[in-house]
Subunit: 457 residues, 2 copies
């Protein structure tokens, strides 16, 4: 079928293992440091936060880590996800490039997030755990973890950035429908939240603050609760590699191989999910696919941040990480891509950008929505604001091909749908969506609060 637009894998091709980049990592990695001692964290420190299986995955050298059957059983509710060739978009752009997208919005909560949420909930349950605490911005991650905990009969305690809690009750209703308890953050539940609310009773919250609260709630629970993170950590990126593994097979069905693979990047997990299996092919099989991580100009950790040691959270309860960062005191403006508003970046992605294995781009939100709307009008799907960054980068690549006549094969990850983000599309249509270029002075200011670290790296 020469004009096929959709490439479906049969159920039998659902991956049996996650791909672990540790096995092929082309650059040395440094460990996370304890926020006070500034020495490598101990397993004891981390085990208060995370199930042991996940900590083991973070440092495992094995290239393949088996996906437990109960996780695969739940994956089958929406996986394998479809891969599409965007023929209508190509025609609209009058490009000779071939544009493919992997669509993760078919999951029950509408994004790639359940790929790791289900895995994390399984391992917590497996170790006799009772409850996960976590943070969420607009609610994509909270919804996914709420659903996953519900499946494994675990409690789920979500600290939701207050401004989203107040302005966007719908995602909260999703979480509550799955039995989660949702608190506006900062909350009175934690010492961190209390101190912020005392200083400012109207504190709007931020992802960094919500992370601190989630961590504190776990650490002070006497072992009752563990803390779950929806991006950033190696095991989260690992779980997302089902995306790229499926995409590799589906590109083979399409009879093509991508010249460039694109994903949006906040903490780095959906980007890594699609990119790492192709990076493996670059490293092992002399492929030369460009891997492009796309971030907002309003939170440009990869393109304008520094690769250095910084706190992963605002309060300083989480480890200090070597990563691309804008400074942990940086509070990004309230752009609509709430999932891309984090001051740092996954240490693996950071190291690979630093080494040149991965490219980084920043795009303004107004341009991303222009791209998203063009995508919707040609392909029918309204992307999430985060995904619009990947959409726009793919469109830019395809437009460049129109100029050069290059028949490039472009693959991007459409990480979720925009059903819960229509207010943002309304703002774009009304012309009230703001451009945002972060002033250099503010980055300099935030970078003056980095922790002092002597550890080599």
């Amino acid at each position: 079928m020469g004009d096929q637009t959709r490439f479906d894998l049969p159920q039998s091709r659902l991956p049996k293992a996650w791909y672990n980049l540790n096995a092929d990592m082309p650059v040395p990695m440094v460990p996370p440091l304890h926020p006070e001692t500034k020495e490598p964290v101990t397993p004891e420190f981390l085990s208060v936060l995370s199930p042991m299986a996940l900590l083991g995955q973070d440092v495992s050298p094995d290239a393949e880590i088996e996906i437990p059957e109960p996780v695969r059983e739940i994956y089958r509710l929406w996986r394998p996800t479809p891969l599409f060739r965007a023929r209508r978009l190509e025609q609209h752009l009058e490009t000779c490039a071939h544009i493919y997208y992997k669509y993760e919005g078919v999951s029950p909560v509408g994004s790639h997030k359940p790929n790791t949420a289900v895995a994390q909930a399984f391992f917590l349950k497996d170790e006799g755990g009772k409850c996960f605490t976590t943070e969420t911005g607009a609610g994509q991650w909270g919804s996914a973890l709420a659903m996953a905990c519900n499946f494994f009969d675990l409690g789920c305690e979500v600290y939701m950035v207050r401004v989203s809690y107040d302005q966007k009750p719908y995602r909260r209703h999703v979480m509550e429908s799955f039995g989660a308890t949702v608190y506006p953050s900062p909350s009175m539940n934690t010492a961190a939240g209390q101190s912020l609310l005392e200083a400012n009773p109207d504190h709007p919250g931020s992802l960094g603050v919500a992370i601190s609260e989630g961590i504190e709630a776990a650490v002070t629970s006497g072992g009752e609760k563990k803390y779950s993170l929806g991006s950033f950590l190696p095991h989260v990126l690992l779980h997302q590699t089902v995306i790229g593994q499926e995409a590799l097979e589906q590109m083979e069905m399409a009879g093509e191989y991508p010249d460039v693979v694109i994903g949006c990047a906040g903490g780095g997990s959906n980007f890594s999910g699609i990119a790492f299996p192709f990076l493996r092919e670059n490293l092992r099989n002399q492929r030369t696919t460009r891997l492009v991580a796309v971030e907002p100009t309003a939170c440009p950790s990869l393109t304008r941040g520094t690769y250095t040691w910084d706190n992963a959270d605002v309060i300083g309860m989480a480890p200090i990480i070597k990563m691309h960062t804008l400074g942990h005191t940086f509070i990004p403006p309230r752009i609509h891509a709430g999932g891309l508003r984090y001051h740092g970046m996954s240490p693996q992605v950071s190291a690979l950008v630093d080494s040149g294995h991965i490219e980084a781009q920043a795009i303004d939100q107004v341009d991303t929505f222009e791209g998203g709307l063009m995508f919707a009008q040609t392909e029918g799907i309204l992307p999430a604001p985060e995904s619009n960054h990947a959409v726009r980068a793919a469109i830019n690549e395809a437009v460049a091909c129109r100029e050069t006549g290059d028949e490039k094969v472009i693959l991007f990850n459409l990480s979720g749908h925009g059903n819960f983000d229509m207010a943002a599309y309304g703002a774009y249509s009304d012309g009230t969506l703001e451009r945002y270029e972060y002033p250099e002075s503010e980055i300099t200011e935030a970078m003056s609060h980095l922790p002092e670290v002597d550890f080599p790296g």
Copy 2:
């Protein structure tokens, strides 16, 4: 695989033809009547409203009507849709029944509606048409038609019930993202709207009023615009039969045959879409599957209405139809299942309920949300409020099997997801969702305004 939960058809099994029940209709049908002459409508009258191809489908005796390739090409963006066995729900209910559901929420706008929207837009374009007018309640139908018109480069003018327009801007943003023009109804665009607004500037609107406006806008356009309806008419039910045809094959993959097939019913199209191919098997091959249409107690046209002649719209511009009706002046309460708030019912479904080929049930919205939440917590998908009626009826069947030990095979149509309806789930969780039993006196009052018709039937 004895424990398979998902049954996917390959792309190659996308139906090539719609199934036309006219060929097997076991009871005689009467024609629509002109609202003034009360004689059968002429093709001239109808052709002002609808593309000729659709009018031809309404009366075609052919069992199969070919699906044009450009329509199939767009269907492939989300079809064939998955069929699931709800094993977790079965376990939760401790039932020996087998519960299957066909999931139409994977379409770009999240419901079954694009199945007909895309077909209608194709035929309008094919006849050189320029624009569709239509009505929408909460916006499911308007979103689908907006997307379809966008694909075929047609204008789309949507009259949206004012209370939804004001309270639920998100669906409007979806329609506008696809390039549609959306008016709150009643509007000043039409004589019908003007007269209602003069009488009551705060008129909240209703589906019946919005239908009148959509029709008037088409009729007075001098041929520029045609009117599209998203349910009720034979060609709409016809286009939805892709659902049941796929389900027939998928049940065969599962090695089972349904004892009962369930769908929610407002105008009747998603119910008919899944049920008619099974009705064909009942009629041709001596199958005895029960076919159950489920409506809200707040708008009980099938269970408490009368099978008689009534106006299809409020103002009296549309034909008079023999159908189950609560009276065209009936304004149903504002339940959250906006798609089930129509005073009448598809003439085909009405005739088949009257003849006993189809069963009808009414369920209160509070009970439907209880069912929907149970479904979400076991299967992961939050259903649309309309779909919750089918979910609850399926649960009731399965619970009855627990009592009797009957190993019934139950199939229902999960017509859409509830992503745009989370306020309703919030209301259910808060305990503020109201039960609604329509008082007999109000039905009697509305039924006193039926048109007087001498035509036999």
